[in-house]
Symmetry: C3
Subunit: 272 residues, 3 copies
């Protein structure tokens, strides 16, 4: 065994492969023109099958053949869930494909744009920074311009005064004496701006927030946000299907860790 695996040589080989690919791609693109932007499932299937035929099969037949088509949660909502997981975990490899799929599934450019801004707060600036240039390429390729995005300061949705007062009281009690700066930005940046921006419905903001929390194992805060999601219109059937979608994209353990919290929220809201 060598003293240590070597990155440089591997990296050099990848650079060489890149150089070859650049030439091939340039030629191919010249011939194919805009068709090079279309999806070609066979290519990816071949690439995946060369490493794991079972994984390629599971992806094609089970994940896209069954899970994405299940009733109970629309393809559009599944895309929001999936995109939120990728951003929240910084999984750049699938972002371009999933951003495109989200737009194909009916997520609007404005909604995708707002999702990035929302998850900068809920999963950290570094994750948004990684997603930005990839979304930028997708937008450019689809001729999505600034006129389809929201301005910095749109007319905000009305504030639910009662719910906000309750939230302020809870946060002040829990955080006020510990981190006044956190309280300040939570109020002014999140609950009196971000959540009131009209470009993404509150129900959808809740959907991506819960997805982000589950994706990072942050179960302690799932209860509050799942309750909010259901207040905002997410049905129990949709929430249940959300867990199934999350199992595939955030991994089984994160889905299973979230189940007891979902169960508790469901039972608290059960009639009678």
């Amino acid at each position: 065994m060598a003293a240590r695996p070597v990155r440089n040589v591997t990296h050099s080989r990848r650079l060489l492969l890149t150089a070859i690919a650049l030439l091939l791609t340039a030629c191919a693109s010249t011939e194919k023109g805009s068709t090079s932007m279309k999806r070609s499932p066979a290519m990816t299937s071949d690439a995946a099958a060369a490493v794991s035929p079972a994984l390629a099969h599971n992806t094609d037949a089970m994940l896209f053949g069954e899970v994405w088509k299940r009733p109970g949660l629309s393809p559009r909502d599944r895309s929001l869930v999936t995109v939120a997981v990728l951003i929240a975990r910084g999984q750049t490899a699938e972002m371009a494909a999933q951003f495109n799929l989200a737009l194909d599934n009916g997520v609007t450019p404005l909604e995708l744009s707002e999702t990035l801004n929302h998850l900068a707060f809920y999963s950290g600036w570094g994750n948004a920074a990684a997603a930005l240039p990839i979304a930028g390429e997708v937008f450019t390729a689809r001729n999505i311009g600034a006129e389809q995005l929201a301005p910095v300061a749109p007319s905000l949705l009305p504030l639910d005064q009662a719910r906000e007062a309750d939230r302020v009281e809870r946060v002040n009690a829990a955080v006020g004496s510990v981190a006044p700066g956190l309280v300040e930005f939570t109020t002014k940046a999140l609950f009196r701006d971000l959540w009131l921006r009209p470009g993404l419905a509150p129900r959808d903001r809740s959907l991506i927030t819960v997805s982000s929390l589950v994706a990072n194992g942050q179960t302690g805060q799932v209860g509050y946000h799942l309750g909010r999601a259901m207040d905002n219109g997410l049905s129990q059937t949709e929430a249940a299907e959300m867990i199934t979608q999350l199992a595939f994209y955030a991994g089984w353990p994160n889905a299973f860790s979230a189940v007891p919290v979902f169960k508790e929220v469901f039972s608290q809201r059960a009639p009678g």
Copy 2:
């Protein structure tokens, strides 16, 4: 201080460096031929030493000089643990080197292939997607073809009916009323297919599952899977060394968080 750090300029510089590197690599590779695939520890050591001589030394002298050589867990098993951590955390930088090291250490291409498929379920599809092309390059460079991989539907290992009945009962009670879809795929995709695929022994599937759980701080599910790992043949000595290996690759805090769970499992299984 500038209003904001700028990615574009830095990125541009990296593109230029890449262009130069492509040319240099192309020339070098022409001369060196296949020798360019061999490891050259000195190069990486130099690169690491230019940033942190201590880290380069710790990697060479302590991690590869001591930890990987410790008795109690074979280099092959240490590779499975390490590869599982990288995939489960989406750490692509070290993947090519560690995939190669795993194959050198006796992990078969089939086992590595099954590891990717297994961790798609246990750490999320996006992580498998990031690892796939890197594994594909490694396989291509080593002339590993489809004939060394498992078919989509091999003859499965026999199902342990008693253990499966117990698992179904537990999952139904915990998840059944909350997310029926999750229950369905847990049964058909995981425990009546994935875990029974013969390409990776149940004991090794447990090894990578526990590694993935520890790597992501998912301690709540470590107990069940560590017990399963020991049922499947992992010794207590091996489990103890696994924590040491995980400390280096998943970080000290994740290793320490897992210790109480390991301790509990060890004590439950202690004779007497």
Copy 3:
């Protein structure tokens, strides 16, 4: 909906864009010379604004316009916190910009070098491996040579015998019977070497350790290390501002999860 999103075509397109960018950059760099290394906020703002004007605004006006300028925690310390988050979460996209900003803010090359070595232990080797080449490029561009870094074995800071005896007792009790190897390396590699290296002050090692723990939701170990940080000189005001900085870079949920632990540590240390 296609059977599966396709990475290859997207990847090919990115390679083509890369080829074009390489040419454009090479030309531009030839004209601009060394000025290409300077920051040009407008460029990044434009790129971000093309995807999310709100996110670009939040980054410029709120994060860099307000948060980074808040009293209570110096820009230099905010850089240490931020860099620790990026390394601990493997967020490579922002690393070059933030490493440069850290050096501009007064973090020395030696301190940044020690930060990487420190976080290899506290967040895992794969994260350090991802950060190393990026730091290497930054060092090269700024002509930072080996003479500014610490040797492998510098004269160590004196060991606090009482605190170390207490730590050894606690770790032996908790870990000794479970994972002897972990105990061994915790003592010799961490507490009798890493923490005593003079290139990064103990207070700063605590700062990045706590940041790394919060960034990965490892709240169980925040209490011990925050107490150590305050023993090592971190003020309560600084700790409070640290949470605010972490909210933006590690995401709101991780900051909120850490608040109760900070509150408990603050109250235990309160006079009277």
